[in-house]
Symmetry: C2
Subunit: 282 residues, 2 copies
């Protein structure tokens, strides 16, 4: 189900102006979240990142009543467990070019889909030739200008694997196309820092906190692709997938090529927290 | 006037699906061109770049009859001198995420506007903090993921100037937000090479050829911001603006702070070539 500026609409059919800067310039931000009942899971974390992106792009979102635009969406779509994508573009611009004219009203699209079961198979990835520019402030927010990730994923698709890991301009890993990367190296859970181009993911934050709770040492460190081949385990995280084991990179097994015990423990922590949220929301 | 997949439509109102990947992921390419009568100016050069972008993003544009989608647009809009923006997105994707499913049909939007007279004032620019990633193949095509340029232009707007110059990740200049950069240094016309992150602009190519015709030595060289302060002249080029003098950067004058003679000669060459095209098209 689709909601454009608060109005429900069937997904089919035109809903967006061809002059919307989301379409013409990738000018906007988005969040993809889980929801149950009327509630969005970890909304405050998603809102904080959305605000950071809006601030960076000088997108006036404070006048939008986002909770009101979101609250009813999962319930109206009558889904007990849903994925909600919230898109906020700069809005319709009758001008031409990149200059931002005053007075534009952001376009808000809320799309609600059933939460699909997690992929049954662990992920296999390549290291993409496409890089992520860790020096750009855009690497720390979720803007609509996502062609870099599309390009990397296309490379993965051509090579017959699930995902692509992106290096930053210095050659260390930033993450995967739509998820954060973790590995277990010398008994420590490690993940690339935000300054290396890692998106400050909400599931990434959950996992770092959960690791503490489980007494698992965890650190943000620069990782090179070859470090993954020395890792005992690796996994990918995002707000929809949760924790997905990563068992191969560029055709070489990570650890013994099967999901490891720390990955399983963190995945269980994620699943438990979600189940508790769903129970509270119903 | 607006044409979506070949059908004329008023600009107002929704024309694009909210599931179009142009809107959700900045997944597509575009060209902005001049046109007169039924003809697009320097179409072959624009088509070549569009094809390069489509090839990079695996966008199937060969089945689209782009000349047919474009030919009538300027004439139907009844504009003797027009700007035509051609946008080709990957199309409507009912899925979610960046993976490219098979069978999508690209969305083609053609927008026609009157060609505005060139800005009366020469341009003043800043050097943006935002960089252009010269290592990304996306830096050599015109994708819809344009938030980096929006960010740099916002910086220029905040500082009260017309445009922003972007450095690449190594610190040399790539160009401005929507145009290529030229300077006159030690009697030679210079412009950043494509490997430095310069978009292979169609007006840039025109100017390099015109300089030859005028017996003006011209070279592609890496330029640092401080080189501009040693330059006698500088200007910006794109397919719509043509040649626009650039007289200040970060508040410091370039040359004597006025458009120079080589800039004027190249601008005259551009204007003459355009006038000849318009005369032939009418």
């Amino acid at each position: 189900m689709l909601f454009v500026n608060g109005s429900p609409a069937p997904e089919e059919g035109p809903r967006i102006s061809a002059l919307d800067r989301g379409f013409t310039l990738g000018d906007g931000v988005f969040e993809t979240m889980r929801a149950a009942g009327r509630r969005v899971y970890r909304w405050e974390a998603h809102l904080a990142r959305l605000r950071a992106g809006a601030l960076l792009l000088a997108l006036p979102i404070d006048a939008l009543d986002l909770p009101a635009l979101l609250d009813d969406a999962p319930a109206r779509a009558a889904l007990p467990q849903a994925v909600v994508r919230l898109t906020v573009s700069r809005g319709v611009d009758a001008g031409r070019g990149v200059a931002v004219p005053p007075g534009l009203r952001p376009t808000v699209v809320v799309r609600v889909l059933p939460l699909a079961p997690p992929p049954g198979e662990p992920a296999r990835a390549i290291v993409a030739t496409t890089r992520r520019d860790e020096r750009s402030p855009l690497s720390r927010v979720k803007s609509l200008s996502y062609a870099g990730s599309v390009l990397a994923r296309l490379e993965a698709q051509r090579r017959g694997v699930d995902d692509a890991l992106l290096r930053n301009t210095r050659g260390t890993l930033a993450g995967a196309t739509t998820s954060n990367l973790f590995a277990v190296l010398d008994g420590t859970l490690v993940t690339p820092p935000v300054r290396a181009g890692a998106l400050p993911g909400t599931a990434r934050a959950f996992v770092l906190t959960a690791a503490q709770g489980l007494g698992m040492p965890a650190r943000e460190v620069d990782l090179r692709p070859r470090d993954l081949l020395a890792a005992k385990e690796a996994f990918l995280t995002n707000a929809v997938l949760g924790v997905r084991p990563l068992v191969a990179v560029d055709g070489q097994a990570i650890g013994d090529g099967h999901p490891g015990p720390r990955t399983a423990a963190l995945r269980a922590a994620w699943d438990e927290a979600w189940a508790a949220f769903v129970a509270g929301a119903s």
